[in-house]
């Protein structure tokens, strides 16, 4: 009865259904979170890192501009709150890069340890495995980013509860699905190029540059600005900053900017999945996916 029951279960691993796929997603996410919880030092590092990233321009700016730091900054960005501006940018950046990093690193690790092909033999869609990894990564990134922002505000003497915090969180949440799409494309790059560490490093800085980690994208020349605006993290970052610091939305209103992120939230995962599936198919035809 037991064996028959297992075989006939409506969402057993042998039969793929939406419910079984969601169960795979949840199982992978829980497993990843459990592994992460074994390394509290890594968690502490993820809290400290955005503080370091934000501190570099803050200290550089203070040393350059002296008493006129806030005044000059306001003339260039629309807010004198340069500390909060940099802290928000650094924390949004960490959420975004971690979402990518988790998927890319996970795929590379599975390749290196020789378990990727074994995972491909499991009777489930790869996208659900990747979604589980991305979900765990995003959850932890958001948590550490919030913690890092509050700690940074306390260190630099800035009020962490200024502006519209709920709206900022809404922008952050709406920015996560597009990141899943990008992380799928990123996973495809790892599969395709294998030794992708430098690619991952480069992509991280490209993201920071395009999203305006340290500056408003308005400083870019028109072509580069257009590229930056086609990049979802730019909207997430600006939305969070506009909600907290009032630096202005791209479409002059929060709901229009949030709606734009909503469009990205639908399109980016679809495009990312297409790219991933195409690369995966090509690799299966050629050398196979286990090579590294």
């Amino acid at each position: 009865v037991g064996a028959a029951g297992t075989v006939r279960a409506p969402y057993g691993l042998g039969r793929r259904s939406r419910r079984s796929e969601l169960a795979v997603l949840a199982a992978v996410a829980v497993a990843r979170l459990r592994i992460m919880s074994r390394y509290p030092g890594v968690l502490a590092f993820n809290v400290v890192l955005p503080l370091v990233i934000a501190s570099m321009p803050i200290l550089l700016g203070r040393s350059i501009a002296g008493d006129r730091t806030a005044e000059n900054f306001a003339l260039n960005t629309g807010t004198p709150e340069y500390v909060a501006y940099m802290l928000l940018g650094a924390n949004v950046y960490m959420v975004i890069t971690n979402s990518l990093w988790f998927v890319g690193n996970w795929m590379r690790r599975e390749q290196q340890t020789g378990t990727l092909e074994a995972l491909y033999l499991a009777p489930t869609g790869r996208v659900w495995l990747l979604a589980g990894v991305a979900l765990a990564g995003a959850g932890r990134s958001v948590l550490t980013a919030l913690l890092a922002f509050v700690i940074g505000c306390l260190i630099y003497g800035v009020n962490p509860l200024q502006g519209n915090v709920l709206l900022a969180l809404a922008f952050l949440a709406m920015g996560l699905p597009p990141m899943f799409g990008l992380s799928l494309a990123y996973g495809a790059a790892v599969l395709r190029f294998k030794e992708a560490q430098a690619l991952i490093n480069a992509a991280q800085w490209v993201i920071g540059f395009l999203m305006g980690l340290y500056f408003p994208v308005a400083v870019f020349p028109p072509l580069l600005r257009a590229i930056a605006l086609a990049f979802p993290p730019t909207w997430t970052n600006n939305g969070v900053r506009a909600a907290i610091l009032g630096v202005g939305y791209f479409f002059e209103s929060w709901y229009a900017d949030l709606a734009m992120l909503g469009v990205f939230a639908v399109l980016a995962p679809l495009v990312g999945y297409r790219i991933f599936a195409a690369v995966e198919r090509a690799l299966k035809r050629d050398e196979g996916i286990g090579e590294f």
Partner: protein
């Protein structure tokens, strides 16, 4: 009696129980050649490192611009602020890659399961680590450093360069110290295993702030500055930068900083090597060399 093939009689072969200095140097040269060969197999990695460098520098230049009056970055041309960022970046490059290539390389062999096999050969494990870092630092980072200084000079319309000869001597001692720091981290990797990479990142970014690589020491708050004064690498950064920019050092008189820089450069490699051998012996005794 037959003495076997001439190869067995080689006076400096690695097969001898106590290979001489010549054999060690030949082994090191062979390992450097191997690393160079591996480097040529990953052209994407080589190219993306230059792209990353350009993006990082562009990002910091634009970040600097947000703290300047709206007339812009033309003010920064040839200024000490530009020199602070450019020359700090050079040392940051060497430090980061020293940590990553030694600690990361070791970790990679652990993960791929080749470390124990590698240690069964009669070649020195230390030579392998040195080969990694020499290839990376001398060739790759050397090239990156030259290109990054030239790139930043072009972007900002010139960099101060007062005493290049003395700067080179300081860089050589700094380079030696950084190799020693890398060896200490390689030893730590054998002990910490999975946490080593994150710890290396943490140390890299902590030193970035504590050694004020992207801003003057005067920008640091007093308690942090007190910690900076305890780190010998801070004096290397300070002396290197002030020599090239033509300013007096910030932390101590130049004569004292020279003593610290030379002593640190001479002491760190043997200290790092000793710690590494200690960690390796303990790992062999416990049978944990290949554990990860």
């Amino acid at each position: 009696m037959a003495t076997g093939s001439p190869a067995r009689l080689s006076p400096y072969g690695l097969g001898r129980p106590r290979p001489g200095a010549r054999a060690r140097l030949e082994a090191l040269a062979a390992m450097v050649r191997k690393q160079l060969l591996i480097m040529t197999r990953y052209p994407v990695e080589f190219v993306t490192s230059f792209v990353t460098m350009a993006i990082v520098l562009a990002m910091f230049t634009l970040a600097t611009g947000t703290f300047l009056p709206p007339e812009g970055l033309s003010q920064a041309a040839g200024s000490s602020a530009a020199g602070v960022v450019a020359y700090g970046f050079v040392l940051f490059l060497f430090l980061g890659d020293s940590l990553w290539f030694m600690s990361g390389g070791l970790r990679r062999e652990q993960v791929e399961g080749t470390l124990e096999a590698h240690y069964l050969t009669p070649a020195s494990p230390l030579a392998d680590l040195l080969a990694r870092v020499l290839t990376a630092l001398l060739l790759w980072d050397g090239l990156l450093a030259i290109v990054s200084v030239a790139f930043l000079g072009l972007m900002l319309g010139g960099l101060p360069l007062v005493d290049a000869g003395a700067g080179l001597v300081i860089l050589i001692f700094g380079f030696s110290a950084i190799i020693g720091i890398g060896l200490v981290f390689a030893a730590f990797t054998l002990v910490a295993k999975e946490s080593a990479e994150q710890a290396a990142s943490f140390v890299q970014f902590a030193l970035l702030v504590l050694c004020a690589m992207f801003f003057p020491f005067s920008a640091l708050p007093q308690p942090v500055l007190a910690v900076s004064r305890l780190i010998p690498l801070s004096y290397t950064v300070d002396l290197f930068r002030s020599t090239l920019i033509g300013h007096a050092p910030e932390l101590a008189p130049a004569a004292l900083e020279w003593w610290i820089v030379v002593a640190f450069g001479l002491l760190m490699p043997p200290v790092g090597g000793w710690l590494y051998r200690l960690a390796e012996r303990r790992a062999r005794e416990r049978g944990s060399l290949g554990e990860y």
